[in-house]
Amino acid sequence: MAAARLLRAVAPRFRGLESLGKAAPRTSQLSSRLYGTLLAPEANPPADPNAINEKLITEPLKHSDFFNVKELFSLKDLFDARVHLGHKEGCRHRFMEPYIFGCRLEQDIIDLDQTVKHLQLALNFTAHVAYRKGIILFVSRNRQFGHLVEVTAKDCGEYAHTRYWQGGLLTNAHVQYGSGIRLPDLIIFISTLNNVFEPHVAVRDAAKMNIPTVGVVDTNCNPSIITYPIPGNDDSPLAVELYCKLFKMTITRAKNKRKQMEVLYGLQNKAESG
């Protein structure tokens, strides 16, 4: 429910993204980034070619779990991948206390029921973003899994950044890359901390640039600015491999669904006009 509400609020920006052939949407995209989603101008009244686009975009929003991400994993899978294991009691972050089930022999245990709910929301959101052809950026500064994250991103057809984060990559993009750059529409954090146990700079920068974030937060991380936090272990190889597998499956599923819907609506339109 909350997800659908959030998506509807965010929808005007994505509508601007869709009709990219015209001059206006680029400015609308920029202005929405700078001044907030509410100021994004109304989309053009749907002409015949755009009627399909409208249907394509609004159709998934009518279902709560259009891409059926609930079937991708179960609580047992999370337990087997040791997602519930947190850090020691001394490393606990204050804002993670609601997500912690308890503490055993000074090690925090994360509440997997909450994790399941958060993970479903997050996967649903990424699926919707991928369905609307958004740019997804995977970020992780954990050197142990850098290669794995890059490979996952490559297989999805999305983007990754597991290296040293230069200061102005998001906030100073026009100087860094050149004008006419399109920033990521979603940033997924496999590990929210950088190598000195501080929050990754991209968390703050994404919040500044109004880019929604999905992130796996461990018991020593700060979940406050992340849009869709996923409380869970980010240090075990099994857990990280599970997350990468889940994200890859959702993104590929969403993209395939998009192709299917385009074909479906194209055929329907032809049948109506013919």
Binding site: K133, K154, A160
Partner: protein, 377 residues
């Protein structure tokens, strides 16, 4: 330009009236010279380095090929077989330049050599970047690191497979006679700027890959980053022995030392007689040190009394003449001797020209090194 001048003159009408007659035209001419087009263009931001579009480069290549054919026709050569060397010679002939800086002289080269390699557009029509590491900023460098690490993982998997089958093969890469690419060459390969730290990380990763036991499977990938060292095999051409009328083998050699020049003919089947400029060596070189220098090559090879020598030497003093004859005789003896012994002679320093010369006197000093007497006050 004219508009600017007119504007300036109209504004200065009152000022002109105030001036006297003679100074007026001088001031006007001053005004005319100072006004340029640069003054008109204001608030124009400085443009970055020129970006060459693909269409532009294509046009340049067409023009180059056309120009090449014209040049070939001009020089009377066949346009089909006109190589870059011929172009360079033709341009040097048609446009002789006395400039010392070679890079300032007229040049006609393929546009790919002249225009620096630039990146094509990084994103498509939908503005999605092509490369999956685009948002890192250094996409080619990081994709290279990603590839090398991937190769390392492949090698480790292969090693594990072999171990599972209880085989123990080791395939190392031969790195002798080659060096890693330097930073500039790597930058050229990636078309991207690198920092020293990045370059050292890349080389360290490659070194780590090379230390794995079974790295031979990725040999050709690693060799892309190795460059052959310039093999300076100093193959001194050894003259074959010549035979004179009586069938005695002889050989000639030339030697230099300081300002002396010596030519020497070494004969076989001799008794150790040495003639210098028609004079016996005992009389020509009274000092024993010089005679020892003459002796050295023969003593080193163990052929002291077996050769005769006839030398002519000009210039220099006694010591330098002796040194010149020593070098000349050593070179001549190479023909009589096996390659191994010649290598021993080279390592002993008998075949190396002694480059030491009189050091020049510097101004402000009494000699080459001696300074004037230092007085405290």
């Amino acid at each position: 330009m004219a508009v600017a001048v007119r504007r300036v003159l109209r504004a200065s009408r009152s000022w002109r009236a105030a001036l006297g007659g003679q100074e007026r035209w001088r001031a006007e001419t001053l005004r005319l010279i100072c006004t340029t087009t640069a003054v008109q263009k204001r608030n124009v931001p400085a443009s970055g380095p020129e970006k060459y579009t693909e269409a532009f480069i294509k046009k340049q290549i067409e023009e180059f090929n056309l120009g090449k054919r014209h040049l070939a026709n001009m020089m009377g050569e066949d346009p089909e077989t006109f190589t870059q060397e011929d172009i360079d010679k033709a341009i040097a002939y048609l446009f002789p330049s006395g400039l010392f800086e070679k890079r300032a002289r007229p040049v006609m080269k393929h546009p790919n050599d002249i225009f620096p390699k630039q990146r094509a557009m990084q994103w498509g029509e939908d503005h999605r970047p092509f490369h999956f590491l685009f948002y890192t900023g250094k996409q080619s460098f990081y994709s290279l690191m990603h590839e090398i690490y991937g190769k390392m993982l492949d090698i480790q998997k292969y090693q594990d497979q072999l171990k599972a089958q209880d085989l123990d093969e080791k395939k190392q890469i031969n790195l002798i006679g080659s060096r890693w690419l330097i930073k500039e060459e790597l930058e050229e390969m990636l078309v991207e700027k690198l920092s020293d730290h990045d370059y050292s990380l890349c080389i360290r990763l490659l070194e780590r890959l090379v230390t794995l036991p079974c790295c031979g499977i990725e040999e050709e990938y690693v060799l892309k980053f190795r460059k052959e060292l310039d093999t300076q095999l100093k193959k001194v051409v050894i003259e074959p022995l010549q035979y004179d009328d009586q069938g005695v083998a002889f050989s000639t050699g030339e030697g230099k030392r300081k300002t002396s020049r010596a030519t020497v003919i070494v004969y076989d089947n001799g008794n150790g007689k040495i003639t210098v400029n028609g004079i016996d060596y005992l009389h020509y070189f009274p000092v024993i040190q010089d005679r020892e220098q003459l002796m050295f090559p023969f003593q080193f090879l163990g052929r002291l009394g077996k050769h005769n020598m006839v030398c002519t030497v000009l210039g220099g003093g006694s010591s330098s003449q002796a040194g010149a004859i020593r070098l000349a005789s050593a070179r001549a003896l190479c023909s009589f001797v096996t390659e191994n012994e010649a290598e021993f002679m080279r390592q002993a320093g008998l075949l190396t020209y002694d480059p030491r010369n009189k050091e020049r006197k510097k101004p402000g000093q009494e000699g080459a090194r001696r300074k004037f007497t230092w007085k405290k006050r």
